[in-house]
């Protein structure tokens, strides 16, 4: 994966597949860059959870390897960070990875607007909360709020996803500019 936003997309799609109705994506940048993806999906049994970081564990039926979680874990560990996954059947799953932004092997966060738009347009019935913070400054996008405003108009409409893209891009620029000053 070239950028962390692609890992995030990949991991959140696991939450969607686990029938989550709400997925919270937090990307907090202070000393470390901390990415947390928490869902209220079906969760995993302890036996499966124990095997889930193994590339030869997967739920897919087209072949026998699953690289999403191993790749995310590897990216974190290569960048001087940590990886943690917790899950409870019937409650949900939380994946948390940290990265040292000063580490040469830390990939860029990349296009989070693209990731959120891909999720909202593909799964307009699922709720996503994206929270992004750099230092003390932060913003969030919550599809539950978007839904309230848009009423009967599906969130997958191009006008809505385009708004979300612009909002994330503009606010991200403001956050990172603030950090450099």
């Amino acid at each position: 994966m070239k950028e962390l936003s692609l890992n995030v997309l990949d991991i959140v799609l696991n939450s969607v597949k686990a029938k989550a109705s709400l997925v919270t994506i937090e990307i907090l940048e202070r000393e470390m860059l901390e990415i947390t993806i928490a869902d209220n999906g079906c969760g995993m049994a302890p036996e499966f959870l124990a095997r889930v970081i193994d590339p030869f564990t997967t739920t897919r039926t087209t072949r026998k390897v699953g690289l999403g979680i191993p790749l995310f874990k590897l990216a974190a560990e290569m960048a001087g960070g940590t990886f943690r996954i917790e899950s409870e059947e019937g409650v949900g799953t939380t994946v948390c990875a940290t990265f040292d932004p000063r580490n040469i092997d830390c990939p860029p966060l990349g296009d989070m607007a693209g990731t959120m738009v891909t999720l909202i347009s593909g799964y307009p019935e699922t709720d996503f909360l994206y929270r992004r913070a750099v230092g003390e400054a932060e913003f969030s996008v919550d599809t539950r709020q978007l839904r309230e405003i848009m009423g009967e108009i599906p969130l997958s409409s191009f006008e809505v996803t385009n708004f979300v893209r612009e909002m994330i891009e503009e606010n991200e620029r403001e956050l990172t500019r603030g950090g450099n000053e």
């Binding site: 994966m1 692609l6 997309l9 990949d10 799609l13 597949k17 897919r60 087209t62 072949r63 699953g66 690289l67 999403g68 790749l71 296009d111 693209g114 990731t115 738009v117 891909t118 347009s121 593909g122 913003f139 709020q145 978007l146 405003i149 848009m150 009423g151 009967e152 108009i153 409409s157 191009f158 006008e159 809505v160 996803t161 385009n162 708004f163 612009e166 909002m167 503009e170 606010n171 403001e174």
Partner: protein
């Protein structure tokens, strides 16, 4: 900071258009493989380009959707086109540029871009 205030205005603009859109379903489906293999190979910008082109050209009966692993990961990013009454067309090793051409040649003008299909790649 951009806030949700602007979204209210977008909603008002869209309200009138909605009725027309809801009736025009069940046309062409464009499906992008979005599993780990597809994402790592560059499927996200391909999907974005397809959605943008469909919106820009106001192709009302065309739906862009996502699926999991299609099963031939070495050909990712993969895009499948389903048109009613026609055989499925599978495009492989997609890029945003190729995606634009597929919308123009195949979806709009009905000409399958044979050189990008899985048959040509194999």
């Amino acid at each position: 900071m951009k806030t949700l205030a602007e979204l209210q205005a977008i909603r008002e603009q869209m309200k009138n258009k909605m009725n027309i859109r809801e009736e025009s379903e069940a046309g062409t489906r464009i499906v992008v493989g979005m599993a780990t293999c597809g994402i790592a190979a560059g499927a996200r910008p391909v999907l974005t380009t397809l959605s943008e082109e469909v919106a820009k050209r106001e192709l009302k009966d065309v739906l862009v959707t996502q699926t999991g692993c299609i099963g031939v990961c070495r050909f990712e990013p993969i895009v499948e086109v389903y048109e009613p009454g026609k055989e499925k067309v599978t495009y492989v090793h997609m890029t945003p540029e190729k995606a634009r051409r597929i919308i123009n040649d195949h979806i709009v003008n009905g000409q399958v871009v044979t050189e990008y299909t899985i048959g040509a790649a194999e």
